[in-house]
Symmetry: C2
Subunit: 159 residues, 2 copies
DNA sequence: CTTGTGTGGTTGCATAATAAAACCAAATGC
DNA sequence: GCATTTGGTTTTATTATGCAACCACACAAG
């Protein structure tokens, strides 16, 4: 088999999310959807991508339950693509990507926009990882554990 | 030109991070690197990917300043690939991807591992977005603003 | 209701990326 | 010194991407 490898059966949750989001366009489509874009042509013109691959991506996102098709809200017979709760749940991923660029990009002056708290207009704080009890955690303060500590879950690859 | 589109000059920080991280393998390579993997063969066997594309990805990650090559720590003449601070800075992205799978995956029972607080062994709390003053923010509480509110920054596309 | 136009795609073709396998040189182990 | 491991590159096949052309249906005007 020479097909592009799929992470579908992988036991690692990161690989699993990349299965749905890990291509060039999906996260940008979702970004636009979070901005309120709903129509095919609007995605196409804002992202400047080929229509056939947009169609393929939208289909894939719908299959993955990230977008859903709905009748157009303006009464026309066309359809719209709207985010599901699962789709809206990607928001922290987009924030993390954004903050990573803001912090480490080699040409930060080329970055056009910042994410701000709407009420105060001030930049959003960096995402931080915390323990259940609220303690701030650094990467080294965390570790990976088997999901069910003694029920014989075993699958491929690490995670 | 029919080349794969590049997001390099894009003004959106999300597109910019995807330029470096947005392919099938890069984030998984970084995941392994965060686990302590440093050697070519170790990446290759753990990820089960073709050697040529691993070589290409490692080269790309080095070019992007996410990995750096270093002489092997065990005294041998081989080299190692180690994360830079920029590379370690992707940690929140991986956490966000992981938590998204944990929350929304259709078959969560197939997920093998969970991220836990090392001290207590309890799951890490969901990433949350906060304002500078500590207020918890929902996506709708945030908005996008031009980076420099009145210095005439203008580039392509949204963000 | 007929004609024109915009929307939302699909199809065909050229090129680029990915994958598997073969190959290879340098480093290492014996 | 010789076999093996390591860390790749090369070759070739297949898949994905990107552009342009095409097309069906909705809609609007007359």
């Amino acid at each position: 088999m020479v097909k592009r490898t799929s992470f579908e059966g992988d036991a690692c949750p990161i690989a699993r999310s990349l299965e749905a989001l890990g291509d060039w366009w999906s996260l940008l489509i979702i970004r636009e959807a979070l901005f309120g874009v709903r129509r095919f042509g609007e995605f196409q013109s804002k992202l400047g991508m080929a229509k056939n691959i947009l169609a393929a991506r939208l289909r894939s996102l719908v299959e993955h339950g990230i977008l859903a098709t709905a009748p157009a809200s303006d009464g026309s017979a066309y359809q719209e693509y709207v985010l599901t709760p699962k789709g809206r749940g990607t928001f922290p991923i987009l924030v993390a990507l954004r903050q990573w660029s803001e912090e480490y990009d080699d040409h930060p002056e080329e970055i056009a926009t910042i994410l701000v708290d709407r009420e105060k207009g001030r930049p959003v704080k960096k995402l931080e990882m915390r323990a259940e009890d609220g303690r701030l955690l650094a990467p080294a303060d965390t570790t990976i554990r088997p999901r069910q500590p003694s029920k014989g879950v075993s699958r491929s690859r690490s995670g």
